[in-house]
């Protein structure tokens, strides 16, 4: 066996570039796949840790239906009735321009199931020598993850001060605290969050005996049981689509990498056929030979896998900050910017490398197993063989296209969306060689001179060898065009929509009741304020989905500017009554609501009179008249104020507000800054997509380069007769270069319609399923021009080296083709 392996491996010494191609393909495929997995795993890990903090699925809570704060006298009442509950107060503070989630707990009564109650916390709390004491009593302590401390530019030495001017309890680094979270005693939280005597929920200890007193009798406050999984599930549900997008990209890159692996393996196999036949003739059984090939392959896959996983780690490290920012900005999910990976991730990466290598080589391995020891005569001329293969490919491509159509017509859900996408991409890739062949055939029939006739015919013959690289390029280009069209379309739509939607010049937010009233009455008296647009809001759940209900005042600012996707003609008047509401597109999509449908939110049963786009908001939204909201939700809180004023007065009015009310950055923002902020978050998301896009393009370029390099070795017998017939090496090199560029150009041109199809699928199927909104379809021809140019450039660079080699090749190497002693 060792001997056979040695014989097999000797091939690579003679063809080192093939070995490089194989390893590069495996490395890239594994790297991009595992890089994306690392990003996803890291984010999910952060969500789960956050959920586990207070006990995860096992621990139920008591909350108000709308999630509002309630008086802590409920705690006392319940305890007295024998309920084993633990008080929690949650909220947000802003420090150094970023927001931190504050969780106030009572460590003495905290259920043991909560992560925060594990001994680790105990030691951390008592590190200071005074045990629980310093955590529990003034001036308190706050526990924070070390990474968060660094991220927020905080230290243990200087006190941290919030943007509202409150000094946080002394920071202590704690290992088991999730990034972006500040844990402190509930009393400290009440003071920090300026919610004295308030709680956001009571945790029910799952390990304690339940009280016999029913909840309604134990407390006068209308609390309800909810499970934590509902809350953490939200984050998982909301971010799922984001992660699915990343996964899809990872899979695509994996596929493109496998194309390289496939072409390298197939080529090596073809070149080793005589060697394999000799081995068979020498008495090696087909099984032994196949096992030897398999062993060789798995060894290479292991090497490629290890380098791939290492590279994937680097990619993930590079992209993690952007991913963390966009997850935070889009979904409020706190994700640690630094990467910590489990051994299972490493082994999964290696496994993927093996599976990929096996998939890419199964054809060659099967052929090796069933190969007759004697070479049989060619049954078909190259053209017939090619034609047969092309017919097969066209057939499968058509079948996949049919499958995509059937899935579109009858399927449902995000996974189906991605299945359609995959079917389209693979169908496109398979249809590429037949289409190129068609183009080349047309070219051939129009060829005038003998050289151009040869050019077209020879391009067709070379198609088989190059088609894998060209398919990889097609996939990369189509994905780029598809994603680019979606992203630019989103950017354009989002920007237009923001322009329309943000009518007020100044926005005030995060105000409590007292400040809200004070600000409103102060603004009312200002001459420079033209319109005041106050809102109130309350968070509810409809069929399990988190929904924010916003109350707005009737004003022409809305009537004139608020863009609707679908609306009844009398919507604005209808909304004045308490019978009608407007819903966001994603809520309508999620709950399959249409105009004139009625929904029930508690006792309220309003009718839908308008559906509006609410791009970028993962949660559902309902807009109704401000008085209606106040009527149905007595505890609805202030929801911000939009202030309209003349452009010249913006600066002075903001200055006056700042002086009068001590407004901080997060509480007051002008329209321009708000737009910039919203756009900024999206740019981060797009930065990740763009990076992955560039990487897939790079992979396609490498695939092209590798194929050309390996093929150029086999080109001499094709070129030598032409050279002998009177074509210079220079001319031949130009023809070869021209051929590669022509093929790349045709591929790029075919990538445009496929890319648009992909874009359509992303916009009309995947986006709608994932986010609940459907974008208008915009096309951006400048993208195509750019990508076609890029494809040509890639082909040019990839074929530069073989071309230069051919230009100056020694005549004797060409002459050797004709000699019998080769």
């Amino acid at each position: 066996m060792i001997h056979i392996l040695k014989t097999l491996l000797s091939h690579w010494r003679r063809h080192p570039m093939q070995l490089v191609a194989l390893l590069v393909g495996l490395t890239i495929a594994t790297a991009l796949w595992s890089g994306v997995q690392a990003l996803n795993a890291q984010a999910r890990d952060s969500y789960n840790k956050a959920a586990q903090l207070l006990g995860g699925d096992r621990v139920e809570s008591l909350t108000l239906v709308n999630g509002a704060l309630f008086s802590d006298k409920a705690f006392a009442e319940l305890r007295r009735a024998g309920w084993i509950v633990s008080p929690v107060l949650e909220g947000q503070v802003r420090v150094n321009g970023k927001s931190l989630r504050v969780i106030g707990i009572d460590p003495l009564s905290l259920p043991r199931a909560a992560a925060l109650a594990t001994p680790a916390t105990g030691t951390e709390i008592s590190e200071d020598g005074k045990g629980f004491q310093s955590f529990l009593t003034r001036p308190w302590q706050s526990l924070i993850a070390l990474s968060t401390m660094e991220q927020f530019g905080l230290g243990t030495d200087a006190p941290a001060i919030t943007e509202t001017g409150i000094t946080l309890p002394a920071l202590t680094a704690a290992e088991n605290v999730t990034p972006g979270i500040l844990v402190m005693d509930v009393g400290a939280a009440q003071s920090v969050l300026e919610a004295v005597g308030k709680l956001s929920r009571l945790l029910i200890d799952p390990d304690a005996k339940t009280s016999t007193t029913p909840l309604e009798d134990a407390t006068s406050i209308p609390l309800q049981r909810t499970s934590e999984s509902e809350v953490s599930g939200d984050l998982n549900r909301l971010t799922d689509s984001f992660h699915l997008n990343l996964t899809a990209f990872g899979m695509l890159a994996f596929l493109v990498g496998l194309f390289i692996v496939y072409s390298a393996i197939t080529l090596a196999f073809e070149q080793r056929l005589p060697m394999l036949r000799t081995l068979r003739a020498c008495g090696v059984s087909a099984l032994t030979l196949t096992i030897a090939l398999l062993l060789e392959l798995l060894t290479l896959a292991l090497i490629g896998g290890i380098t791939g996983v290492a590279l994937g780690y680097l990619i993930a490290v590079a992209l993690m900050p952007d991913v963390a920012t966009s997850l935070g900005g889009l979904y409020g999910a706190q994700v640690s910017g630094s990467l910590a990976l489990s051994p299972s991730w490493w082994s999964a990466g290696l496994g993927m490398s093996m599976i990929g290598a096996l998939a890419a080589s199964s054809y060659s391995l099967a052929k090796a197993y069933w190969m007759p020891p004697l070479a049989t005569a060619q049954r078909f001329a190259w053209r017939e063989a090619q034609e047969r293969r092309l017919n097969w490919q066209s057939g499968i491509a058509l079948a996949l296209l049919g499958l995509a159509i059937i899935l579109y017509l009858f399927g449902n859900g995000l996974v189906v969306g991605f299945a359609i996408l995959a079917a389209l991409l693979v169908a496109g890739a398979l249809a590429l060689p037949p289409l190129l062949s068609l183009i080349l055939r047309v070219g051939e029939s129009h060829a005038g001179g003998p050289v151009s006739q040869w050019f077209w015919a020879d391009s067709r013959m070379q198609l088989s060898g190059l088609s894998v690289a060209l398919m990889a390029m097609l996939l990369a280009l189509a994905a780029n065009i598809g994603v680019g069209t979606m992203v630019d379309g989103f950017r354009k739509t989002f920007n237009d929509w923001l322009d329309q939607r943000l009518v007020a010049e100044i926005y005030l937010d995060s105000l409590d009741e007292t400040r809200f009233d004070a600000v409103m009455s102060w603004l009312d008296l200002r001459e420079d304020v033209t319109v005041l647009l106050p809102k109130n809001r309350v968070d509810v759940r409809i069929e399990g989905w988190p929904v924010r209900v916003l109350g707005f005042v009737d004003h022409e600012s809305y009537r004139d500017y608020w863009p609707m996707k679908a609306a009844n003609p009398d919507l604005w008047d209808a909304v004045l009554s308490d019978e009608a509401i407007l819903v966001s597109e994603q809520l309508a999509q999620r709950l399959t609501l249409r105009l004139d449908d009625t929904i029930s939110i508690g006792e309220w049963q309003p009718r839908i009179v308008g559906i509006y786009p609410d791009y970028g908001n993962p949660k559902g939204q309902i807009s109704a008249n401000i008085d209606t909201v106040a009527h149905y939700f007595p505890d609805a809180g202030p929801g911000g104020i939009g202030v309209r004023t003349d452009d010249d007065n913006i600066e002075s009015l903001m200055e006056a507000l700042r002086t009068q009310f001590n407004f901080t950055g997060s509480e007051m923002i002008d329209q321009a800054s708000l737009k910039a902020f919203s756009k900024g978050i999206f740019e981060k998301t797009f930065a990740v997509t763009a990076a992955l896009n560039v990487l897939t393009m790079l992979v396609a370029g490498i695939a092209m380069f590798m194929s050309l390099l390996t093929l150029s070795e086999m080109r001499l017998p094709q070129l030598a007769p032409l050279w002998a017939g009177g074509l210079t090496r220079r001319k031949l090199a130009m023809l070869e270069l021209g051929k590669t560029i022509a093929l790349a150009l045709f591929t790029a041109m075919l990538a445009v319609p496929l890319g648009l199809l992909v874009a359509w699928c992303l916009i009309a199927v995947v986006n709608v399923q994932a986010f609940g909104w459907r974008l208008p379809f915009h096309v951006f021809p400048y993208q195509w021009i750019w990508l076609v140019a890029l494809a040509i450039l890639t082909a040019f660079v990839a074929s530069l080296m073989p071309t230069l080699r051919l230009r100056t090749i020694a005549p004797m190497r060409l002459l050797r083709v004709f000699a019998n002693e080769r």
Binding site: M461, A720, A819
Partner: protein, 217 residues
Amino acid sequence: MLIVEDLHKTYSTPQGPLPVLRGANLTLGDGETLAMMGDSGSGKSTLLHLVAGLDAADAGTIRLGETDIAALDDAARALLRRNRIGVVFQQFNLIASLTVQANLAFQAKLAGRYDESWQSELTERLGLSDVGARYPEQLSGGQQQRVAIGRALAARPELLLTDEPTGNLDVETGEAVMQLTLDLVARTGCTLLMVTHSASIAGMLARQVRLDRGRLV
């Protein structure tokens, strides 16, 4: 008229310089046919390659009519091959991606001397009428060599150079192909320089020379 004077060619090999041609001289009148024989490795192919302008000589002159081939640059030599010389080798003469028909017409079209009736006469005489639409890989060795010869002659070259064109064929086929070639050469009036190691084939040509120790005797 082909005149080769004092031709020198030395290859550099890992074992040191290897002089192959050491002052070879040769004169060949228009329409003459000459067989060049010699031991294996004596430099026959080398001489042929230099005459065809496929490689550059170290010293000496090769005149075809008024042109000194040895003094031409790469592009000019390519042009010479294209327009005035036909070459046929032992193997791999044909363009794999083109049909037999296209292969036959290639050189003539390249030289701008494509002649429909000559083309069909050649095809007919070479017995290739039935396989015109096939590809080289589908032909037998003898058929392939006939295509190569037809391709060279279709362009009506001044000089036809062949390097053991029958080396891969059995004796009978080889002689048949040879006879055909000579008939067609006579028909076009071109000059023929053929390398061969078969005495019987050499005997079919008007003159014979031997290459020995770098010189022609």
